[in-house]
């Protein structure tokens, strides 16, 4: 099913480049592959992301970055291979509540304000200790817009509300699909700071990027998907 022309150029990642001593990865994939209508989209891939680590998923448009993240989140079933969380095969129960998903659809209702949107999601996911909607909005720099309906906010500001959600909600695995889209320079710095802070406290992040933005952490491991 995997013709030589479509084979991915870096399917086996060396596990040695990790800055953290080898231990049970928080999230790992074993021979993970996904095909749509018998057409391979990515894989098979082997990788692991430990606590405090970031995995940067790079690739051109259409190379399957988003699909990989959706498979990891359990929104799409993997064609072959397995996903492990804390060395146990991932189930809906072990996965849900630990993964925070930031996709290109923000998951925020335009008619509601940031405060109302975040309060609803906090009810579903629970919040980090000591974090409130207001403080999360302050961290991402748009506290003044907390009670405005989202449709009056710019695309970049909406993206920041999405980032406030990551800060506010409990969940140790971040799956960020193109988090840099629509953001200005400060916004890009903010994303990098958030990821660094999350990882510094034992979280893990998987970040997709088409390569146009420089990722801040030089120690971050890379995985490259090709069309």
């Amino acid at each position: 099913m995997d013709s030589p022309a479509r084979r991915h150029d870096n399917t086996r990642l060396p596990m040695t480049s990790s800055p953290v001593p080898a231990r049970t990865p928080l999230l790992s994939a074993h021979h993970l592959a996904f095909s749509r209508n018998d057409e391979p989209v990515f894989g098979p891939l082997d990788f692991g992301v430990g606590r405090g680590e970031t995995l940067l998923v790079e690739g051109d448009n259409g190379s399957g970055k988003t699909t990989l993240l959706r498979v990891l989140a359990g929104m799409l079933p993997a064609t072959t291979g397995e996903i492990f969380i804390d060395a146990a095969a991932a189930t809906r129960d072990s996965r849900n509540g630990r993964m925070l998903w930031l996709g290109h659809r923000g998951g925020l209702n335009e008619s509601l304000s940031a405060r109302e949107n975040l309060a609803f999601l906090a009810g579903l996911y629970g919040t980090r200790d000591g974090m409130t909607t207001a403080s999360a909005m302050e961290y991402v720099g748009i506290a003044g817009w907390i009670d405005e309906p989202l449709r009056t906010l710019s695309a970049g500001q909406k993206k920041r509300v999405g980032l406030a959600r990551l800060l506010l909600l409990a969940g140790d695995i971040w799956l960020l699909d193109e988090p840099y889209a629509n953001l200005d320079r400060h916004g890009i710095d903010l994303v990098n700071t958030l990821i660094a802070g999350h990882c510094a406290h034992g979280g893990a992040a998987l970040v997709t990027s088409h390569g146009a933005v420089r990722f801040a952490d030089p120690n971050a491991r890379h995985i490259r998907l090709s069309v």
């Binding site: 989140a73 359990g74 929104m75 799409l76 079933p77 804390d86 996965r95 849900n96 509540g97 630990r98 993964m99 925070l100 998903w101 996709g103 290109h104 659809r105 923000g106 998951g107 925020l108 209702n109 335009e110 008619s111 509601l112 109302e116 309060a119 609803f120 999601l121 906090a122 009810g123 579903l124 996911y125 629970g126 919040t127 980090r128 200790d129 000591g130 974090m131 961290y139 720099g141 309906p149 800060l167 409990a170 140790d172 400060h186 710095d189 903010l190 700071t193 958030l194 660094a196 802070g197 999350h198 510094a200 406290h201 034992g202 979280g203």
Partner: protein, 250 residues
């Protein structure tokens, strides 16, 4: 924008996340309350849309005496069935939007990944939908009944039948709405799919009304409706949740 990563995120929870995860996971009850609050808030923001089914029901009811002639005997005889059909038709347009906007803006993705039973969230959504679209219709029903000269002793039976039939229709509609959520302009499709499912509901509700009008026992059709509702409360959210997972997959 110069945040120190170490102070940015409170350390207290994340590094011990694995051990306290059960504690921070909000209960299903809290999640349902949060969803209800959000849906009521959204309904309030779009309260203009909420009046449409109500307005539709009032206009159609007011037109009937003009079309049939002001014969109180005739109107009284058909009032129950007419009001039943009006309620069913008034509920139809709103069904399409039950999951549409949440699928479009990615909220359903957040539902799917939340540590909450999806079927329970779906049931909560249907309850919120019923409270905001069907309940106002039920509240104006005595007024509409008076417009059509509905016999006073039939009104409680009509209300009871609608109280059982409308949540049943909302649950059936939710399943179809979830199935059709991925397709564009699913309104007509939804109406066609709901028709065969709505027919038995209408038959039993109309049976109760006809029995009451004839002075006979109306309990049996109502109990059938109640049984169907009990079954739908359990099964429809599960079917709905499965359909929504497929909709998000696509």
């Amino acid at each position: 924008m110069t945040h120190d990563p170490a102070t940015l995120i409170p350390a207290t929870r994340l590094d011990t996340l694995a051990s306290v995860r059960g504690e921070i996971r909000p209960g299903a009850w809290r999640a349902c309350v949060a969803l209800l609050r959000r849906d009521f808030l959204l309904a309030w923001r779009r309260r203009g849309e909420l009046f449409l089914p109500l307005l539709y029901a009032v206009i159609v009811t007011a037109l009937f005496p003009f079309a049939l002639g002001p014969d109180p005997q005739l109107l009284g005889r058909i009032a129950g069935g007419v009001l039943l059909v009006i309620v069913v038709l008034a509920m139809l347009p709103a069904l399409e939007s039950m999951f549409r906007s949440d699928l479009d803006d990615g909220t359903l993705e957040q539902w799917l990944l939340a540590p909450q039973p999806l079927a329970l969230l779906v049931l909560t959504r249907v309850i919120a939908h019923w409270l905001t679209t069907a309940l106002p219709l039920l509240i104006v029903m005595p007024f509409l009944g008076a417009l059509l000269n509905l016999p006073v002793n039939v009104l409680p039976v009509l209300m009871l039948a609608l109280l059982l039939a409308t949540p049943l229709l909302a649950l059936l509609g939710a399943v179809l709405s979830a199935l059709a959520a991925g397709t564009r302009r699913s309104g007509i499709l939804l109406a066609l799919m709901l028709l065969p499912l709505a027919v038995p509901v209408v038959i039993f509700a109309a049976g109760a009304i006809a029995a009451a009008q004839a002075g006979m026992s109306y309990l049996a059709p109502l109990v059938w409706l109640a049984a169907a509702l009990a079954l739908a409360i359990v099964l429809a959210p599960l079917a709905c949740a499965a359909a929504l997972r497929i909709a998000v997959e696509a």
